[in-house]
Amino acid sequence: MIWLRHIFHREERSRKSRYDARERLKLVLVQDRVDLDAKQMEALKNDLIDVVDRYLDIDRTAMDVSFSRDRGSVAIVASLPLQNSEGRHASA
């Protein structure tokens, strides 16, 4: 799960095992709930980005796609900042 590792990259080395347990558990519960394995979820995430990317120029370095989970429901939460969108607005 490269994208998830990316999110936590900053704290990866120093963080306590409690956080590993918590994040791994959350992810595995989402997988249990939606009945997709890690590979399928990664593919879903990439497909989702590709579709948006067909219409809009996404800043791939700043994007964040994750699965959030509450009792009874799972949601895909995607933050896909657009490339140079702020700059263009400022110059207009």
């Binding site: 306590k16 347990a21 918590r22 791994r24 558990l25 009792r71």
Partner: protein, 262 residues
């Protein structure tokens, strides 16, 4: 009319049987007529945890197959007058009892007791279905480990599907020293993930092993912290509002409740 409460976990080895024995003991100490029902057919253990293994005459399957009356299968606790146990059968399997038989049995038994605690087998198959069939409420026992919490989450979903919404969780075998070091999930972590109400936290305590060795539930031990935890769980189960002793937990808990009440 008594209440039927099932104690589940999904995963084995998290302390379901010990929890059942101790909550039952504590309820009886509170003056409640309490019956423990071991539904782990083929792997019975509640009798040994209670120290009653030498007194078994009839078992659960003898009752459901009408070889004896429920009364005849009940073993009175060594000291507590109000506490009884119906042991599981050891030489049969989970299919020896059906869900409708369990429901019928608990409905008969609830007339004579304030609380009937059902010790559910591990797993989510027939044994689980039997154990929850007659229950009004459910408790889920977990430990601060990924595997146990994952299975607890699965069980919470299955309990909801079985018409037992809002089970309460007992977090067992907490090592507070490891929690402080950041090497064990906190109670807050577990509650956030499971999104259900807490009813108690029990520390990992070697006195529990010692008391189980002796067949004397630790709830009887007034000097033990774990014993106190079990007595508090019993009191909360009976409706008492006892604050949670672990610092920070209560504040977090109210915030969490507020989030889910929306």
């Amino acid at each position: 009319m008594g209440e039927v409460i099932v104690i589940t976990s999904g995963k084995g080895g998290v302390g379901k049987t010990t929890t059942t024995a101790n909550i039952g003991t504590a309820l009886a100490m509170m003056g409640k007529r309490t019956l423990l029902l071991d539904t782990d057919i083929g792997l019975r253990n509640l009798d040994v945890v209670m120290g009653l293994e030498n007194r078994i005459v009839y078992h659960l399957v003898d009752v459901t197959e009408h070889r004896c009356k429920p009364r005849q299968a009940m073993i009175r606790d060594k000291k507590l007058e109000l506490l009884s146990l119906i042991p599981a059968a050891q030489t049969r399997d989970k299919t020896a009892v059906s869900e409708s038989q369990m429901k019928e049995l608990t409905d008969t038994l609830r007339e004579d007791f304030d609380y009937i605690l059902i010790d559910c087998p591990a797993g989510i198959e027939q044994g689980f279905k039997n154990a929850v069939a007659g229950a009004d409420r459910a408790l889920v026992v977990t430990t601060p480990e990924i595997s146990a919490v994952r299975d607890a989450d699965r069980v919470v979903g299955l309990l909801e599907a079985a018409g037992l919404p809002e089970p309460k969780v007992i977090v067992n075998r907490v090592r507070f020293d490891m929690v402080r070091r950041g090497d064990m999930m906190t109670i807050e972590d577990i509650l956030e993930i499971l999104a259900i109400d807490l009813i108690g936290v029990v520390a990992d305590d070697e006195d529990i092993v010692i008391s189980t060795n002796r067949g004397e539930p630790i709830a009887k031990n007034q000097l033990s912290a774990a014993g106190k935890s079990f007595r508090e769980i019993a009191a909360r189960l009976d409706g008492a509002d006892i604050p949670f002793g672990v610092s920070g937990m209560r504040g977090f808990w109210h915030r969490l409740r507020a989030v889910f009440a929306r």
